[in-house]
């Protein structure tokens, strides 16, 4: 198998997306990092439905995600704020 060594500095440049022009052999790994970031950073509304199913269907002008989350937490008796 091909011997591979990547220095700590090069690791940081791969993750930060700041590879130099002479580091083209590391570009495929950088592209994989970009794929990871785009595939696994979902927008909030999808995740928010795990806490409050009606979040995605809220009408304009109604309370936002934070309201739904805290309301749900409060319903479960877990939110520290009392009202």
């Amino acid at each position: 198998m091909e011997a591979t060594y990547i220095s700590d500095d090069a690791c940081e440049r791969i993750i930060a997306g700041s590879l130099g022009a002479d580091e083209h052999e590391l570009m495929p790994v950088r592209w994989l990092v970009e794929d990871l970031q785009s595939l696994y950073n979902q927008p909030v509304p999808r995740a928010a439905r795990a806490l409050h199913p009606s979040t995605s269907a809220r009408p304009a002008g109604s309370p936002g995600i934070g309201y739904s989350v805290t309301r749900t937490l409060r319903l479960w008796g877990l939110h520290p704020q009392e009202d």
Binding site: I15, V33, D35, L39, A48, R49, A50
Partner: protein
């Protein structure tokens, strides 16, 4: 104001029981927590992410630190939940049940959907080549956006150990990508 400032403000507000504080923390961190759990292969990442935040709510009064420390602490909870969930499932295997498609996150067209699945399959097959620790370190760095020191804190390791895992993990990925390219 950058996202670090926003996180600090949201944390301070949540600690003062202000509703918008939880909103800010959730909006800021839920995508990466869910993404981290999904990339680690959690069968129900949304549910597990909700558990992570509920645990954070319950334990917030014991937390000390700024927004960056909170992020690291939250991913420490996520990591522990992931391990607990994996142990629980290994003891009580269940038959998978099909779920309706998630329309909010789904790509617009069939072609986009197919391409996304292909990309995800490829990424998962590459991640499967890593050890558990290597995958953990790389996902926390790439998806969660934690620094080496924050990953070390979240996983209970020291920074040189995290750097070594990161180095070996990226080298492994480079080898695997080269091998795939040659075989195609």
């Amino acid at each position: 104001m950058d996202s670090g400032d926003n996180l600090d403000l949201a944390l301070a507000a949540a600690q003062a029981n202000a509703e918008w504080g939880w909103s800010g923390l959730y909006r800021n961190l839920a995508p990466s927590v869910t993404g981290y759990l999904r990339a680690q292969g959690a069968p129900e990442p949304d549910d597990l992410a909700a558990d992570v935040f509920l645990q954070a709510v319950k334990a917030l009064n014991r937390f000390k630190g700024d927004g960056a420390a909170f992020r690291s602490w939250l991913f420490c909870i996520a990591h522990n939940k992931l391990i607990d969930d994996s142990r629980y499932r290994s003891r009580r295997p269940v038959e998978p049940v099909g779920e309706p498609a998630d329309d909010a996150a789904a790509p617009v067209g069939v072609e986009d959907e197919v391409m996304t699945h292909l990309a995800e399959d490829r990424v998962k097959s590459l991640l499967d080549r890593l050890t558990f620790d290597q995958r953990n370190v790389l996902l926390l760095r790439i998806i969660a956006g934690l620094t080496v020191e924050e990953v070390a804190s979240a996983l209970g390791k020291n920074a040189p150990a995290v750097k070594a895992l990161q180095r070996r993990g990226l080298a492994c990925l480079k080898r695997e990508i080269s091998a795939q390219t040659v075989s195609v």
